[in-house]
């Protein structure tokens, strides 16, 4: 195990170089064209995000809040394309809860800010529906079909919000706001 007496130490400079290199690469990834993020998650429907990013400055790509609020068609479309009309069609789900068994709930419901959401729901026991973040609640009388309709507000903003039943503490689905 003979070793040179003096070994160069792995110093702060080397550490900083590595960290900077990683940040640069991530920054480049953030600025580059981003087709796969949309394509890779196939079944998902229109995105609210993604203004074309090639021209955006490094590190702040897509940071403009308005880009989150407006909707652009899939990334193949030319920059500056107008809002796709289908994206703002209301999103509806119809859920039935029987003996604790949830039917009809998606994993995620993808919506954009400004879009209308309609949740039609019927529970065999009385409960309360609660949509986190946008803070919508609806009393569910036992065995009665009721509907909650709301427009996704700009606040709190993008994120995945839990849609749950209060009394039985069940998660129904995630409201994915972009």
């Amino acid at each position: 195990m003979a070793r040179p007496v003096r070994s160069r130490r792995f110093g702060v400079r080397e550490l900083a170089t590595i960290v900077l290199a990683v940040i640069t690469v991530i920054g480049l990834a953030a600025c580059g064209p981003d087709p796969s993020g949309r394509e890779g998650r196939g079944e998902r429907t229109p995105r609210g995000e993604s203004t074309p990013k090639e021209s955006t400055p490094k590190g702040t790509a897509g940071a403009d809040p308005s880009s989150t609020a407006t909707t652009t068609p899939p990334p193949t479309t030319a920059p500056g394309a107008t809002v796709a009309p289908t994206a703002l069609n209301p999103k509806s789900v119809k859920i039935t809860i029987t003996a604790g068994d949830v039917k009809g709930a998606p994993d995620r419901l993808e919506v954009v800010i400004g879009q209308t959401v309609k949740i039609t729901i019927k529970s065999d026991v009385a409960d309360e529906l609660h949509v986190h973040g946008v803070e919508q609640t609806l009393a569910l009388p036992a065995g009665e079909q009721v509907q909650l309709e709301f427009v996704v507000p700009p606040e709190p903003g993008p994120g995945v919000y839990a849609v749950e039943l209060h009394t039985s503490a069940r998660l129904l689905f995630g409201l994915e706001v972009r």
Partner: protein, 441 residues
């Protein structure tokens, strides 16, 4: 922490990261791993606790001065005393600050505090202060106040158990955001650790108190450390990390940290939640098994990788987890940053509002009661995703560098690559899993 807080933005998770980010992160991690394995240095360069640039001696004098120590102890008692007041005396409403203080300000706040300044909880820990006062009252020093010597095999195992218990409270326990549940946990925690300190002396807290050990581990990535003579120095955080004294169970602490964070992320996936909510074991039973499973998978993978490293190099496999545990700390920190950054920013603000009116009676103790929560971080989604991936990848890179340096230090020349390979594969697996969870869960 999906349903941590009954109202407000508690039930929020970050958007999935774009697929390109996940792929870029994984590719980078792989690339760096191979570069480190193939072309990096052949003699150890991270020299642990021996070196460092000493700060002026008055810094050490000031930091070690009894006056400052007592101020810090008083601050710790005040913070915990305030939380106890909110937990025991204030009505258990959504506006009660207890849950926010415990899960966000204290637990998540320990991360930046320790990362910037070192093992801060040791100085604030009220259990240590109470024990010190007890020891003074009986006329002994806290280290000697114990009735028995601390068994060496015990190491950090009590901390691993304590951390698991806390993770269970935070992620699985029914009604975990309510004050009675938080009260029971911390009263029991205080009881166990005060007893431990009385029996074994304050050494018990060094290795047994989950929050002290957590703060020590994260604090090892801070730029501050001490030389053997006690002088405070500034040094490369990786050298600081390499100076971590191996102890039995320390690897388990890191695995609990990583496994519980991964579990928290997994429970953001509705299909997973629906599966465990409809499980015959009930939500709590299935959640307990899920959390335990996540920790065991992380731990088994670590155990397997270190056993393979031992076998490949002819070193005793038993010594391997201790010698390599520190290399997982940066990866765990990366996971924590990626998963809790926005939660910390948003819920931390909410807690700052809530502390002004603990009794929900309209008072404004600190002038923050009327403040709203600044949500502007959420309009920077690309930045959030970049920070998440960056944290995971930087954690991986630092872990890989630490592992390489330790490998060249302990393995025979010629067996270094063979010994290092299992750990590299393990790290890539942890990192890719972390990125996958950010993308899919």
């Amino acid at each position: 922490m999906t349903t941590l807080l009954a109202h407000g933005i508690g039930g929020r998770q970050d958007l999935p990261i774009p697929f390109a980010f996940a792929v870029a992160g994984a590719a980078l991690a792989l690339l760096v791993s191979f570069v480190v394995l193939a072309v990096a240095w052949r003699v150890p360069r991270l020299d642990g606790d021996a070196h460092g640039r000493p700060l002026p001696s008055w810094v050490t004098t000031a930091v070690d001065s009894p006056a400052l120590r007592w101020v810090l102890r008083a601050v710790g008692l005040l913070l915990v005393g305030y939380t106890a007041m909110a937990a025991y005396l204030a009505p258990d409403l959504a506006t009660n600050p207890t849950a926010g203080l415990v899960y966000v300000v204290f637990w998540l706040g320990l991360i930046p505090a320790s990362f910037l300044l070192g093992p801060v909880w040791r100085e604030l820990n009220p259990i240590r202060t109470i024990h010190l006062l007890l020891a003074r009252a009986t006329g002994s020093t806290p280290e000697e106040a114990g009735l028995r010597p601390l068994p060496p095999w015990l190491g950090a195992w009590p901390a691993a158990a304590g951390l698991f218990a806390f993770a269970w409270l935070e992620l699985v326990a029914p009604d975990r955001a309510t004050t009675p549940v938080i009260r029971i946990f911390f009263t029991a925690y205080l009881g166990v650790h005060l007893l431990g300190a009385v029996v074994f002396g304050s050494r018990w807290l060094d290795r047994g108190d989950a929050f002290e050990v957590f703060s020590q581990l994260i604090g090892r990535l801070s730029p501050f450390g001490r030389r053997p003579d006690g002088r405070i120095v500034v040094r490369n955080p990786l050298a600081n990390l390499a100076g971590l004294t191996p102890a039995p169970g320390l690897a388990a602490v890191v695995c609990v940290l990583l496994g519980s964070t991964a579990y928290d992320s997994l429970t953001g996936s509705p299909s997973f939640v629906r599966w465990y909510q409809s499980s015959p074991l009930g939500t709590t039973g299935a959640g307990t098994i899920g959390l335990l499973g996540a920790v065991l998978v992380v731990g088994a993978a670590f155990g397997l990788a270190t056993a393979l490293a031992g076998r490949a190099t002819g070193l005793p496999s038993r010594s391997m987890p201790g010698a390599l545990a520190h290399t997982i700390v940066p990866i765990a920190l990366g996971y924590l940053v990626a998963h809790y950054l926005t939660l910390f920013v948003l819920e931390g603000q909410r807690a700052m509002v809530a502390i002004s009116d603990p009794f929900s009676d309209g008072s404004d103790w600190f002038g923050t009661a009327g403040r709203g929560v600044d949500l502007s971080i959420l309009s920077h989604q690309t930045m959030i995703a970049s920070i998440q991936v960056g944290a995971i990848v930087i954690g991986h890179v630092l872990g890989a560098v630490a592992a390489h340096d330790r490998s060249v230090a302990i393995f025979r020349p010629g067996r270094v690559v063979a010994g290092q390979l299992p750990l590299m594969v393990l790290m890539v697996a942890y990192t890719v899993t972390g990125l996958l969870l950010l993308f899919a869960a």
